[in-house]
Amino acid sequence: MDLLSRILYDMVYHTTPILLCVLGGLFAYKAGVLNIALEGMMLAGSFIAVFVALQTQNTFLIYLSALLVCAVIGLIFAYLAVNKKGNVIIIGLAINMLVPAIASFILQFMGVPNLTAKWVNPVNFRFDIPLIKDIPYLGPILSGHPLGTYIGLIMIFVASVVLYKTRFGIYTRVIGESPNAATSLGIQANKYATWAILIGALCSAVAGLNLSFERLGIFTNGMTAGRGFIAIAAIYCGKGKPVQSALYALIFGLARSLAINLSVFAGSISALFDIIPYLLMIAILAVNSAYEIRNFRMRTYW
């Protein structure tokens, strides 16, 4: 594999967890709920997946447990934020701090610095897709990925259909854009907001699984490294539209891929390349915002 196709393969590979978070998280965004707990949910998914993998080699159980735990966290978030009208920033922040704290406690209790499921060989979790893998140039980039990546790519389509062609999607967008219209017609905003948050939680679980279990078989605390927040940035820049938001996720994946592939040539300062995705995030948000307010003439703060 030459450098270019390696960079592009890695781009897709590293986009996956962000992409999954974006496609799940945009439902809550459309429903008017700012879910900053994506990060914590993803970390919970990573942790539970490897933790269960230490007990059993049943892949189904591993997926199920990660999804369940994230669903519970999602429900807690939804209950506090939607039903109890709590401050979403504080609740989200609490979840983001609580998850690594619990993980850290369990690691300490077990007396290990991180969790390693030795039976997991990441190569076994990579699938080639017939037909697509034989396409010149594109094949090696799109094929040979773990399950999570394919779920993510399919989700772009699924999210578009759900959001624009089903009642659930229509109501989700309505409660975010004009909640009063929803109420006046008897559309129960709480119900749809809760489901929207839950979808984000489940997608975060798959993202976390991908990150720790499918790729490495290893969990280290803090391994999500801000991907949940990068996902939020992508959702905002893409205004919650599935395709646009996915493209922003891809840009961040590219940055990550560049950081890894180029750092080989950088020698002792290679660690510096790790800041590229984060630098890019700030740059994109700044440019995006500057573009949005280019016509802003008001003197008020907002």
Partner: protein, 511 residues
Amino acid sequence: MSTILETKDLTKKFGDFTANDKINLTVEEGEIKAIVGENGAGKSTLMNMLYRQIPPTSGEIFLRGKPIEFQSPRDAIQHGIGMVHQHFMLVPSFKVYENILLGTEIPDAKLRFLVDSKKEQQECAELVKKYGFDLDVNEVVENLSVGQQQKIEILKMLYRNVDILILDEPTSVLTPQEVDELLLQLKELKAQGKTIILITHKLREVMEVSDSVTVIKKGQIIGNVKTSETNEAELAQMMVGRKVLLTVQNDHSVQESPETIYTVRDLTTNNTYGNVVVDHVSFEIRKGEIYGIAGVEGNGQSELVKLLSGMMEATGGTVHYKGEDITNLWANELRSIGIAIIPEDRYAQGLCKEMTLSANSIAGSTRSDAFKKNGVYDSKKIREHCQKLIDRYEIRIADFDGTVSQLSGGNAQKLIIAREMRSQPDFLIASQPTRGVDIGAIEFIHQQILDFRNRGGAVLLISSELSEVMSLSDRIGVMYKGKILGEVDPLETSETQIGLLMAGAVPQEVV
């Protein structure tokens, strides 16, 4: 005729405040019932209970003689009661048909979880045709005029086959022509057997369209009359509880001096989306003159006021005051040179609701040394100042040390006027000065503006109430799509002529 809707001792309390007190309302089938009352009298609360937007504290509702208890607005709709709200309940980014069918989407014949948008468009187009509305069902709502948006709201209810249609202040945002069209449509719906409940404070419309009138004051019904047996003056007196002058005495005879005090030239700005919303607006105001700006809301008046009161920046054009260039000055700089501002939204821009009366009474002059002692605020001086304003302008308060939120709309507005007039300005920008204010206070505020003019002050009056602009102004500029389309003399122009300008019809001769 039989009774279709009846309430028995319907009561709604918000904490200690009784918004509706034992309301016994009777609506006959197939009639147009007008419910009138001042702002804050409890009309909207009553309707929201009928529509189950809010639950009643006690009392019963009878529909065709049977007691009913709705659980939600959807429930009310299923029983045949639909409501068109004063503030539209539409989704701006959705298309017309999507809005009409919101909540009752038509599923695809095969894939039940998908929505059949083709069929939806068809059905809506048929509905639009059936009732003779003029609408494109594929248009996105945010591109439509307010009048058209209101039609969508009515269609939304008609699609759901309601028998009783409640309209909450439906004409407050329409041009006179659109009002006439709506009233005709209501009569048409009545002819098709619908019952209509019309909530309004505009008595002319009540007289024109309704069959019977119920007057509400302070949460209680104080009168039921047949429209044919009453008149506007009598209704107004019932609403307020005393005789009111429906129009203030405005003698335009006050000699206007030729001296121009305020000049706006080619003022232009754009909104966040980059659309030009104030487009080369020019006018001048002389001493001792009230210059009115009329227009349907959303045609740039709001932005114009923001530009002139220092809340927004102009991209082009100039503003001169007493010969000085004051373009894009900040609000405090405008006040320091003698310009007083009554802002559009009294709570967003005029007052801080959660602060005390006295703190609000010095807003805008907080840098002045008059309220300070040794460099820090002297609460005694501030309180004295506030008390003076309250006495002089007869502001009715409950608690001197309480917050502004205790004041009714009219008294809050009086506090703003008292504060702004105190600095003895030469020029007053008054934007929507009587919006949401009761009739008694309207009279007072209008008198204040006229007195100011008669003392030689110049006034820029922006209002969406055409009658207000017509009765107070000495000259009127009509705004349409960001431009001043024409300038007219209110004494020589009819409401119809101005209405045409408001709707964008280019005048044949401009006064």
